[in-house]
């Protein structure tokens, strides 16, 4: 039976409740919320309350309502206060909408009164005598600094491996990317770094950037006024929920058509059909990994039909053939339209054959994208893509092939246009230039082959979310245990003796692991020092969303326990490194770690982002409220920050840094399954294992590990499967099954899905209890972008449905009136 909250009333915020601006920190959309806080033992009344409405009346649809999941009791300046987190009807991003993620921000706050998020880390901890013992910041940072200083001075900075977030929201934000970036890229020259979701320090969208086109170039409002929404490898209703519900939906209601390229039918396709009518929705369910062939056919057809924007091409794109040759850093050459088309040319018939979709549908898509309207006027098309491309086959060329179409049709920098990634977290990147190079080091492989002596981990959990996870985990654990054993053996020694023991252990193949996180993560089980970080709203945090909308999400509660903002943890590491290096007589090196005398996250913001964007301060952002300002900020006028609604409206493209400001096309020839080992895997296994997200917990699943509402719905990671395939294997709904191949195995719960194709299963990604990465091979592209999406394996039943999975609903996820 579905989980019951058994809550039938909630306190009412009084008129004088404090109000803070909050930007939801879970996903890229960045919905606006108001946080009301007020003292315990007080509340408003039905008629007199902070919302200013008569609560004794049933509120209408879309009316103000505090759901139990939006309520909590939290600490503010040391006192327990009520917290009500209500979606902001005046925020242009969400206009009062919540999602199943953001709508649970309240209950996901740590509270000693309500006993929520008791998994949060409260104290720095050091591995002592076989357990993690709480300690002071001074003690923990001293050990981190002593070991780190020894290694970098004796063996060089390449022995320090760093895993760190690069995003906004959640753990990221301009404050925290700056704090960590300054430490590793300014005070040090770290080369062996990687990002939270990929095994190297690189861009997920090198191609579009090399073509001159920044990947977040439109406004959400563009989807409202476009003629066609063209989506490739994304599922916005689930993963950018209120972008779909509040903006794409309006576009469809205004008559836009909808094209979705995805081997799987998702709830997004169903919802689009509901809104626009089936006749205005085209789902191109291509064979996995064939996107490039489809894009190239569309590009070719559009050019051959003359549906290109020739003025735009002439004025804004490169004209002289090849501009950038294919080389080690460029998996495809770049240049003029003709140059690119020469490599991309694909007939619709050929693409139909490769992609397994009707040729007529490909032609229809081309018409919907680019065919001038009956009155001869230009058709507007807003294009968007995400992980199906980014984590898909041949990342660089797939990305380039999409941008080719948008450039050819002049759909960048114009109202109703745009060619964007949809994004995962919000963005919030402000760091000194890195020293990583291109292609970047494949850091996971370096670690697996015994490289590196220290691992600093910032809010990332590769055990759940990297590729080749089974092997990575095994090696990481083995190497960390060498150091744990050495620490245990020297437990009674002095700090100096401990450090000696650790250094000897890392020289014997061990890995000294420092983990900064808000919870004790799975990779954190390997840590020798754990430093507790706080989250957004326990600190002030600035980020921008998928339309580059920058907001200050305000601190309304205290950091939990002794936890600190990541930027201040980074500062603490730097200060301790300076002290220890000076003690070691390394004055010059020590000087590199000056400049971290930050008391607050605002200090870190002023030291970083503000230096590059002098108009932007906390006060000014606070005044801009939940609507913030769209980056880049170009001035401050009449008490308001002035932003930029869409990029490249002047037709000048600069993301590649070219002086001529001309966009480049990409010679994105299709070359089948690009990553090593994938074709072999496909040939030898029965099922394609698609790696998918679910609206319910994507981006914050680690917070939901003990959430009753969520665990009741999905006690185990779901694996959507065709009912006939299930029958063939003797699998019933809710049975526990295992996916296995030569890379490893992972487990989940069978979810019969009528729309799933035979031989294709879709497993939810990033689950704490079933790491999909275990079965993903180490194959990457030339720039070390992983291909998580293309994995093949076999399936076997492990057990009948457990009591927990037996009562779960296995009905279709598609709305049916």
């Amino acid at each position: 039976m579905g989980y019951k909250r058994e809550i039938d009333r909630l306190p009412i915020p009084p008129k004088d409740a404090k109000v803070h601006n909050v930007t939801c920190h879970y996903c890229i959309v960045g919905c606006g919320y108001k946080a009301y806080t007020w003292p315990r033992g007080k509340q408003g009344t039905m008629k007199n309350n902070a919302y200013g409405i008569d609560l004794s009346e049933q509120q209408p649809a879309m009316g103000t309502w505090l759901a139990p999941s939006q309520y909590n009791v939290v600490k503010q300046n040391g006192k327990d206060v009520h917290l009500a987190l209500v979606p902001d009807a005046d925020c242009v991003v969400n206009n009062g909408l919540t999602s199943i993620r953001g709508g649970r921000m309240g209950e996901n706050r740590p509270s000693d009164v309500m006993r929520t998020q008791q998994q949060r880390l409260t104290d720095p901890m050091i591995w002592r005598n076989g357990v993690w013992q709480p300690t002071s910041w001074d003690d923990a940072l001293d050990l981190v600094a002593r070991v780190t200083a020894r290694i970098i001075t004796e063996y060089g900075e390449d022995e320090l491996l760093v895993s760190m977030f690069d995003h906004g929201g959640s753990a990221g934000g301009y404050e925290n990317t700056w704090g960590t970036g300054k430490l590793y890229f300014q005070s040090m020259n770290i080369k062996n770094a990687r990002i939270h979701n990929r095994p190297a320090y690189n861009s997920e969208v090198h191609a579009t950037r090399d073509m001159g086109v920044g990947e977040l170039n439109n406004s959400y409002s563009d989807y409202e006024v476009t003629d066609t929404i063209f989506i490739i490898g994304a599922n916005p209703l689930e993963t950018q929920t209120n972008l779909f519900l509040n903006h794409m939906r309006k576009g469809l209601e205004n008559g836009a058509r909808f094209i979705m390229v995805d081997p799987r039918r998702t709830v997004t396709v169903n919802a689009a059909e509901e809104i626009a009518g089936k006749e205005n929705v085209l789902h191109l369910a291509i064979k996995p990994a064939t996107d490039i062939a489809l894009m190239n056919a569309l590009f070719t057809y559009i050019v051959d039909k003359g549906w290109t924007d020739n003025e735009f091409i002439k004025n804004s794109t490169f004209q002289g053939g090849e501009a950038v040759p294919l080389d080690e850093a460029h998996p495809a050459g770049l240049g003029s339209l003709e140059y690119a088309l020469n490599a991309c040319r694909t007939s619709t018939a050929k693409a139909a054959e490769i992609c397994g979709v009707p040729e007529a549908d490909i032609i229809k898509a081309a018409e919907w994208i680019a065919k001038p309207k009956s009155d001869g006027s230009r058709r507007k098309c807003a294009t968007a893509y995400e992980k199906g491309i980014i984590w898909g086959n041949d990342n660089y060329r797939a990305n380039g092939a999409i941008v080719n179409i948008a450039l050819a049709t002049g759909n960048i920098g114009r109202e109703g246009g745009g060619c964007c990634r949809l994004g995962g977290h919000q963005e919030g990147y402000y760091r000194p230039a890195d020293h990583v190079g291109r292609p970047a080091t494949y850091v996971d492989q370096l670690l697996i082959s015994g490289g590196g002596k220290i691992h600093h981990i910032w809010a990332t959990d590769h055990f759940k979310t990297t590729l080749n996870a089974a092997e990575y985990k095994e090696v990481h654990r083995r190497r960390a245990n060498i150091v744990k054993d050495a620490m245990d053996a020297s437990a009674s020694g002095t700090r100096e003796q401990q450090v000696e023991a650790i250094v000897a252990a890392v020289n014997a193949g061990g890995l000294f692991v420092v983990d900064m996180d808000i919870i004790h993560s799975q990779i954190g089980q390997d840590a020798h020092v754990i430093l507790p970080a706080c989250e957004s709203n326990e600190m002030n945090l600035t980020s921008m969303n998928g339309e580059r909308r920058l907001r200050l999400s305000e601190r309304y509660m205290d950091p939990y326990g002794q936890s600190r903002p990541d930027c201040l943890i980074a500062a603490g590491i730097a200060q301790n490194l300076e002290r220890v290096l000076r003690e070691m007589g390394q004055d010059k090196y020590a000087d590199q770690f000056k400049g971290y005398d930050w008391k607050t996250e605002e200090d870190a913001f002023m030291d970083g982002y503000h230096q590059g964007n002098p108009d932007v301060t906390y006060d000014r952002l606070r005044a801009m409220g939940n609507n913030g300002v769209q980056e880049p900020v170009v001035g401050y006028k009449g008490g308001k920050l002035v932003g930029t609604k869409r990029l490249y409206s002047d037709g000048k493209f600069d993301r590649h840094g070219r002086k001529d400001k001309k966009a480049l096309f990409c010679a994105a020839a299709y070359r089948g399954l690009q990553a090593p080992g994938k074709a072999q895997e496909r040939a030898t296994h029965k099922f394609w294992i698609n790696n998918v997200r679910a609206n319910v917990f994507w981006q914050n699943q680690f917070l939901d590990q003990t959430n009753d509402f969520i665990q009741d719905r999905f006690p185990y990671p779901f694996i959507e499967m065709n009912p006939q395939d299930m029958a063939d294997l003797g699998i019933k709904a809710g049975d526990l099954i295992e996916i296995h191949n030569e890379n490893g195995a992972t487990q989940g719960m069978a979810y019969p899905t009528d729309t799933a194709r035979r031989g294709q299963v879709a497993m939810v990604f990033g689950s704490p209890s079933g790491s999909q990465g275990n079965v993903v091979n180490p194959g990457v592209n030339e720039l070390i972008l992983p291909n998580y999406k293309h994995t093949w394996g076999d399936i076997r039943k492990l057990a009948d449905a457990t009591p927990r999975s037996a009562h779960v609903s296995f009905k279709s996820k598609e709305y049916k009136a």
Binding site: K4, R5, V73
Partner: protein, 174 residues
């Protein structure tokens, strides 16, 4: 298919008990605490009106009956499922009642008798009436409120409580 049959219930009988709604100064209980963190705080239940919804004889298998509970501003649905479900009332253990105000943003939901779900046109959420109102897919952060039923000797079905807070109110009993 939309709920067609409507059982009229007077509003009056529901109004008693409403006075204490806003007075509950105690913090509400959010029982999402991890199991290891100690026993959840016992829910502070309101006093609910007892409202006659229908008689068992009025119900046909899988034919939804419109109801209102705890008051006339709060529509719901009464169903006889034909097979026993956890939490089902009546001699066959198959009678259930749910709110039809979507717990996401309050749009009115309709009943799909084919796969026995409540579906919301607001933003496409759906709930399984055979699984205690579990959200099959959607945006609501709770399952759909299920009404507590009591059936007397005569077969009269009474609603006497709700498992979850109903959208659009700070207290189920206004």
């Amino acid at each position: 298919m939309r709920c067609k049959n409507m059982v009229n219930v007077g509003r009056r009988q529901f109004l008693r008990g409403g006075a204490m709604a806003a007075a509950g100064a105690a913090a509400a209980t959010v029982t999402s605490a991890p199991a290891e963190a100690g026993a959840p705080v016992p829910p502070a239940q309101l006093e609910y009106p007892s409202a006659r919804l229908a008689n068992i004889a009025d119900l046909k298998v899988n034919e939804p009956l419109d109801i209102e509970y705890p008051d006339a501003d709060s529509p719901g649905v009464l169903l006889k499922l034909g097979t026993a479900v956890e939490g089902g009332a009546g001699p066959d253990g198959d009678i259930v009642a749910f709110s039809t105000i979507c717990p996401h943003k309050g749009f009115g939901m309709s009943y799909n008798s084919e796969d026995r779900t409540l579906n919301c046109p607001g933003h496409f959420s759906r709930f399984d009436v055979e699984a205690g109102g579990q959200e099959v897919w959607g945006h609501a952060t709770q399952n759909v409120p299920q009404f507590t039923l009591r059936i007397d000797d005569k077969g009269d079905i009474y609603a006497e409580g709700s498992s979850d807070l109903i959208f659009g109110r700070p207290s189920n009993v206004l």
